[in-house]
Symmetry: C2
Subunit: 148 residues, 2 copies
């Protein structure tokens, strides 16, 4: 039974605290701008930057790390707002192919400045360039491919 050192526990606590505080700030900024939540952005972003603005629903799951049923229902909402379209894949009828609409692209473009500003204001502005790189490097070390 392995136990973390106090330094590790402190780093863990900082990680959770910081991420939660920053997420709150970002979501708050989006709300103030009367824009949808961050998950909407991330899904639109992934589809938008995929080839032809299209991506399988499972691809969105993989990239966003959202649960299958959450992607399913989030896409329901996106579709209801005409931001994406669900199409059937001609090669494998099990798959949904999600296609972003012009309205979806427009919303994503509208959200990014608000999102970017919040990141910079609450996060970027408090770190030097070198510190940001160092932080990314350290965090990347933590998330690694499963051993199995």
């Amino acid at each position: 039974m392995s136990k973390p050192t106090p330094e590790v526990v402190e780093a863990w606590a900082s990680l959770v605290r910081t991420e939660r505080a920053l997420l709150d700030k970002v979501e708050e900024a989006l709300k103030r701008a009367r824009l949808p939540a961050l998950d909407w952005y991330h899904v639109l972003h992934e589809i938008d930057r995929a080839p032809k603005g299209m991506m399988r629903q499972t691809g969105v799951q993989d990239r966003t790390q959202l649960a299958q049923y959450n992607v399913c229902r989030l896409v329901d909402r996106l579709e209801r707002e005409a931001l994406v379209e669900r199409r059937q894949c001609p090669l494998d009828a099990r798959n949904n192919v999600l296609a972003i609409t012009a309205k979806g692209r427009a919303l994503r473009r509208q959200m990014w400045p608000v999102y970017a500003r919040a990141i910079d204001e609450h996060f970027g502005a408090r770190l030097s360039q070198a510190e940001a790189e160092q932080l990314a490097r350290l965090l990347a070390k933590v998330v690694q491919p499963e051993p199995g």
Copy 2:
């Protein structure tokens, strides 16, 4: 309108990805052990380590960063399980004073090894002591007191 550098965006993305992945691992470990979610632990922890195992409900809000109504309803559940007691404050009848019960302490003690093991396995084991300290330092720079 300030914009983050690509390095800052990358650090931000790493932060969100890493925190979410780790939280999932920890919650999963607790579930496998048939223990309650992390929020329960944090609330019990704060009350447990306060003087006399008692703390005002607002104190819990401040320390856990949970929303007022979420603390209220989480305490409802904790109380239903006899893990804490709500008492009226004799000095100011608006306040609830939360007192942890023996059962609450026992549950917290039971949860910690599972929590600790998950932290160490998925987080601590992938960082050196120096890296953990560095990470905590960088993250602490980000969360700072409000300017106002």
